[in-house]
C-alpha cells in the first residue's frame, strides 16, 4: 500500500528532484507520509477489533451451543421421561429417553396425541391430576401405565407442573415420568403375601378349631351309635330285653344332647362376624375356648386349671377375636410344654379384675420358657421359637388386644415357664357403675341388662 502511495505522488516529485528539492515540497511529502502512516495504523486497529469481535462472537456461540448440548444432554439422559405439552394438548417436547422408551419418532407421537401411549384405564387419572394441579397450583402426580416399544405396559409415576402467564393462565405443562414398575410389582407381591398370611392365620386357627370340634362331636356320636346298636340287639333278642333297651335309648338321648351342646357352643363362637364392639363376658368366652381346646390339651397331656374370678363385669370387645387370642395363648402354653417330661404339664388360666378400668386374663405354663433375647422379640411377626411355628400368633394376638384398647405382656414365672397376660377395658358404663356401686349384686344385675 505504501508503495502505491508513493507511486501516485511520484510523477511530480521527479521534476522536483531534477530541480534540487525545494523545502515546501519536502514538507508536504513528509506530512503525507505521516498521514498515511496514521491512517494505516487506524485501519489496522479497526481490523484487529473486528477480528476480536468475530472471535468473541464465535466463542459466545460455541459456549451457547455447548450449554445447549449440555442441557440437552441433561434433559435427554435424566433417568425419566421428560416432556412438555401446550395447554391445548399439543406435544411440544419429549426427551430422548421418552422417545426411546416408546420406540417412536417425535412426529409420530405428536400425531398420535398425548393420550396415545397411555393405558386407556389410566387416562382419566391424568384428567383428575390436571384438575388438581389447576386447583392447587402445585405439583401434581399420577400413576399410569405407559406402553413400551415392545408393547409391554409399565407403571410410571408422572409428575407435572403448570407454567402460567402473568395473568395466571396455564400456558404449558412440564413433566417427568419415573418408571415405578419394580416398586409397583414389589407392592403387589407384598399385598399378596399379606393377604395370604392373613388367610393362613385364619386357616390355622380354624384348622385347630375343626380338629377340636370333630373330636368333641365324635365322642357323643360314638356313644349314640353304640347305644342304638345295643338297643336294637336287646330288642331283637328273644325274649326282648326291654329294660336294657330303655336304658340304652335314654343314654342315646343324653349323648345326642351332648353333641347338640357342642354345636351350640360352636355357633356362639362363629355367629358374630361383625367386628363391632359388644359387651363380652370374659369368663364365658374363656370357658368356651377351653371346652374346644380340651382334646388338644389332653392329647398333649396338659392338665388345665382355671381360676375365673366371680362377678366380673363385661368387657367391651369382639367376642370371636378375643377368643382367638385366648385360644392362641392356650395353644402356645401347650406347645411350650410338649417337651417337658420331668414335671406335670400344668396350665393355669386365670381372669382377674384390674381396678375400675379393665379385666385381665393370664395363661401360665410350666414350659421351656424363653431367653431374654427371645423375650424382646416374642411379639414380632415371623419371630418364632418353635420348630414348626410361623411366628404369627402372638403378633396377631397383640394387635387384636391393642385394637381393643388393651395391653399384652409376658413375664417369667418364679418356677419354670412363663405367663402371658392381656387386659381389656370394661364397658364404659360399667366403669362408672363400678365406682359408684359397692354391692357386687348390683353390678351383676347391670351385667345382665347389658347382655
Amino acid at each position: 500500500m505504501k508503495k502505491n502511495v508513493f507511486a501516485s505522488f511520484g510523477a511530480s516529485p521527479l521534476d522536483v528532484q531534477k530541480g534540487g528539492l525545494p523545502t515546501e515540497q519536502k514538507r508536504i511529502a513528509e506530512e503525507l507520509d505521516q498521514r498515511v502512516a496514521e491512517r494505516t495504523c487506524e485501519l489496522a486497529a479497526a481490523n484487529e477489533e473486528l477480528r476480536n469481535e468475530i472471535a468473541e462472537r464465535k466463542r459466545a456461540e460455541e459456549a451457547l451451543a455447548a450449554s445447549e448440548r449440555h442441557l440437552s444432554l441433561i434433559v435427554n439422559t435424566v433417568p425419566g421421561l421428560a416432556w412438555s405439552i401446550r395447554s391445548d394438548g399439543h406435544i411440544e417436547f419429549l426427551n430422548q429417553n421418552f422417545l426411546d422408551y416408546l420406540g417412536l419418532a417425535f412426529e409420530q407421537v405428536q400425531k398420535g396425541g398425548w393420550t396415545f401411549p397411555i393405558h386407556p384405564e389410566d387416562v382419566k387419572g391424568f384428567v383428575r391430576a390436571r384438575e388438581a394441579i389447576l386447583a392447587s397450583e402445585s405439583v401434581g402426580e399420577v400413576e399410569a401405565r405407559i406402553r413400551r416399544f415392545d408393547g409391554e405396559f409399565r407403571w410410571f409415576l408422572c409428575r407435572a407442573v403448570a407454567l402460567r402467564d402473568p395473568a395466571g393462565k396455564v400456558v404449558k405443562w412440564f413433566g417427568i415420568n419415573f418408571d415405578i414398575e419394580d416398586r409397583k410389582r414389589a407392592e403387589e407381591e407384598l399385598r399378596d403375601t399379606q393377604s395370604k398370611l392373613a388367610h393362613m392365620t385364619r386357616l390355622m386357627t380354624i384348622g385347630q378349631l375343626t380338629a377340636s370340634i370333630a373330636h368333641e362331636v365324635n365322642q357323643p356320636l360314638a356313644g349314640i351309635i353304640t347305644n342304638a346298636n345295643t338297643c336294637l340287639r336287646m330288642l331283637a333278642a328273644s325274649p326282648p330285653n326291654v329294660e336294657g333297651a330303655k336304658e340304652t335309648a335314654r343314654r342315646t338321648i343324653r349323648d345326642g344332647n351332648r353333641a347338640s351342646e357342642v354345636i351350640k357352643r360352636l355357633r356362639a363362637l362363629f355367629s358374630k362376624k361383625d367386628p363391632a364392639l359388644e359387651p363380652v363376658d370374659l369368663n364365658e368366652a374363656t370357658r368356651e375356648v377351653i371346652a374346644l381346646s380340651l382334646s388338644n390339651l389332653q392329647a398333649n397331656r396338659v392338665t388345665l386349671r382355671t381360676e375365673l374370678a366371680d362377678d366380673l363385669p363385661n368387657v367391651s370387645g369382639d367376642r370371636v377375636q378375643l377368643q382367638q387370642v385366648i385360644l392362641n395363648l392356650i395353644q402356645n402354653g401347650s406347645d411350650a410344654m410338649s417337651s417337658i417330661d420331668d414335671r406335670p404339664r400344668d396350665m393355669l388360666v386365670k381372669t382377674e379384675r384390674d381396678g375400675h378400668e379393665a379385666l385381665y386374663l393370664t395363661v401360665r405354663d410350666v414350659g421351656v420358657g424363653f431367653s431374654e433375647e427371645d423375650g424382646g422379640r416374642l411379639f414380632d411377626a415371623f419371630y418364632t421359637t418353635k420348630g414348626d411355628g410361623m411366628g404369627i400368633g402372638l403378633s396377631v394376638s397383640r394387635s387384636i388386644v391393642e385394637r381393643h384398647g388393651g395391653r399384652m405382656w409376658t413375664a417369667g414365672n418364679e418356677g419354670p415357664g412363663v405367663s402371658f397376660s392381656f387386659s381389656v377395658p370394661l364397658l364404659p358404663e360399667q366403669k362408672t357403675d363400678a365406682e359408684t356401686t359397692v354391692r357386687p349384686g348390683a353390678s351383676r344385675s347391670m351385667e345382665r341388662q347389658s347382655k
Binding site: 380338629a211 370333630a214 373330636h215 368333641e216 365324635n218 365322642q219 357323643p220 356320636l221 360314638a222 356313644g223 349314640i224 351309635i225 353304640t226 347305644n227 346298636n229 345295643t230 340287639r233 336287646m234 333278642a237 336294657g244 336304658e247 340304652t248 343314654r251 343324653r254 349323648d255 351332648r258 382334646s295 389332653q298 392329647a299 397331656r301 392338665t303
Partner: protein, 131 residues
C-alpha cells in the same frame, strides 16, 4: 336252655375298655355284652394297669388320646411287661395318619369314632383269632 349250659361251661372272654370318655365307658360294655363277652371298663390306662384284669383280658379296646398315660403309652408298657394283649384302638381324632404306625406296632385295628357294631365285631374277631 342249651345256651345257658354252654355259657357256664365256657368262660366268656374278657374284653377291657379303657377310655376317658364317659359315654363310651357306658355304651360300649353293653354292646360287648350283647356280643357275648365279659366286660370291664376303665377311665384311664393307670386304672387298668393297677387292676386285676391285666392278666385276664383277652382283648383291649383302647382310646388313643387320654390325659396322663395315652393309649400308645399303655401299648408300650404292656409290651415292656411282656403282656401282649391284642389291642383295638379307638379314637375321636379323625386322623388317619396314626393308624399305620399303631398297626405296625402290633395293634389289631384302629377304629375312628363313631364306628359301627359290625366294624367293632370284625375287629374283635380278628383280635381273638390272633390270641
Amino acid at each position: 336252655m342249651t345256651e345257658l349250659v354252654v355259657s357256664t361251661k365256657v368262660e366268656r372272654p374278657l374284653v377291657s375298655v379303657v377310655d376317658d370318655d364317659e359315654s363310651v365307658r357306658e355304651s360300649l360294655p353293653d354292646l360287648l355284652r350283647e356280643f357275648g363277652f365279659a366286660v370291664r371298663a376303665f377311665a384311664s390306662a393307670e386304672e387298668f394297669l393297677t387292676s386285676d384284669c391285666v392278666a385276664k383280658t383277652r382283648c383291649l379296646i383302647l382310646d388313643i388320646a387320654m390325659p396322663g398315660m395315652t393309649g400308645p403309652d399303655l401299648q408300650h408298657e404292656l409290651k415292656r411287661r411282656r403282656r401282649e394283649i391284642p389291642i383295638v384302638f379307638i379314637t375321636a381324632h379323625a386322623d388317619e395318619s396314626a393308624r399305620p404306625r399303631l398297626i405296625e406296632e402290633g395293634a389289631v385295628e384302629c377304629l375312628l369314632k363313631p364306628f359301627s357294631d359290625t366294624d367293632l365285631r370284625k375287629a374283635l374277631d380278628m383280635a381273638l383269632a390272633e390270641d
